[in-house]
């Protein structure tokens, strides 16, 4: 369980350097996680829930929501910057299907930093890879502090 964030954590983010890597996360995908995400998000598209439907749609079986992986990116970023308010922009591309049984590693790296009068804007490159090191998501976040 995380400690509640404090001002020291925010200084750490302001002092982040280009090239700095965020501590990675790992998530194991199973049908329960997909079901929980369907319920939580309200996305009951049959490709995530109905196995015969997903097979008939040419997907091989039920697949995880791309947005679940984007949620994992949110977890990665807020674990690092601590304050959800700092996340100002998130953009991702879903590059490969995620299936039950996949193990997803979520990574981030600071690729740009602009410091101004009102604070710093950090650009973080995001990526998620499966257990075969295939990229399932790539994207970018803007963190403002």
């Amino acid at each position: 369980m995380l400690e509640v964030f404090n001002m020291v954590d925010q200084e750490n983010i302001k002092n982040a350097e280009v090239g700095q890597e965020l501590p990675p996360l790992q998530k194991v995908i199973d049908r329960v996680i997909i079901a929980k995400y369907a319920g939580a998000s309200g996305d009951f598209n049959r490709i995530h829930i109905d196995e015969p439907f997903a097979v008939e749609a040419g997907l091989g079986g039920v697949i995880a929501h791309g947005m679940l992986s984007m949620g994992f990116c949110s977890h990665l970023l807020v674990d690092w910057c601590k304050d959800p308010r700092m996340v100002k922009q998130l953009k991702v591309r879903f590059t490969r299907i995620v299936r039950p049984g996949d193990i997803i590693t979520i990574r981030g790296k600071v690729t740009d930093k602009k410091v101004g009068a009102s604070g710093a804007v950090l650009t973080c490159e995001l990526s998620c890879e499966n257990q075969r090191e295939e990229r399932v998501l790539e994207g970018q976040a803007q963190i403002c502090c």
Binding site: A40, L77, V87, K91
Partner: protein, 149 residues
């Protein structure tokens, strides 16, 4: 087949109230145990006014106008050229004006802003805006759908 004539098509507006129970359910679904998503005291100790949602909690409400538009599969296929059996969510972008807070009463509006083809794939972009009861824009969402040929 989705045609460029779809550009500018307005989706039905939707209304959504952000509740603490739903925030907790969503945070648990993405596996994020940050106490500001679950516990008001923790949120206040962190300098927040109330429980806040993970940024991607926007997924719970921000695509509702789009889903309303295409919920009738026959209408979507025959009138709009959008065949849900061939559609995948390809990209997603959120621009946040402020954090999503428990208690937010949001109006979400949306429209189709782009339709284009690349090789045998079609791309349809929906842009939605979530506005608080105060009139303040909370976030803007861009959803890129890919329709396989």
């Amino acid at each position: 087949m989705a045609e460029p004539e779809l550009i500018g098509l307005v989706c039905p507006a939707c209304y959504y109230e952000v509740e603490t129970g739903k925030i907790a359910e969503y945070a648990e679904a993405i596996g994020d145990p940050n106490p500001v998503y679950y516990d008001e005291a923790a949120a206040k100790a962190a300098g927040l006014d109330r429980i806040v949602a993970p940024p991607t909690f926007a997924a719970v409400f921000s695509s509702r106008p789009m889903r309303e538009l295409i919920k009738d599969r026959d209408y979507a296929k025959n009138q709009l050229g959008i065949d849900m059996a061939r559609v995948l969510h390809a990209e997603q972008q959120y621009d946040f004006r402020r954090e999503i807070q428990a208690g937010d009463r949001l109006t979400i509006t949306g429209k189709i802003t782009e339709v284009y083809r690349k090789k045998n794939m079609e791309f349809i972009v929906f842009e939605t805006v979530a506005t608080a009861a105060s009139g303040e824009v909370v976030l803007i969402s861009k959803i890129l759908l890919l329709q396989r040929g």
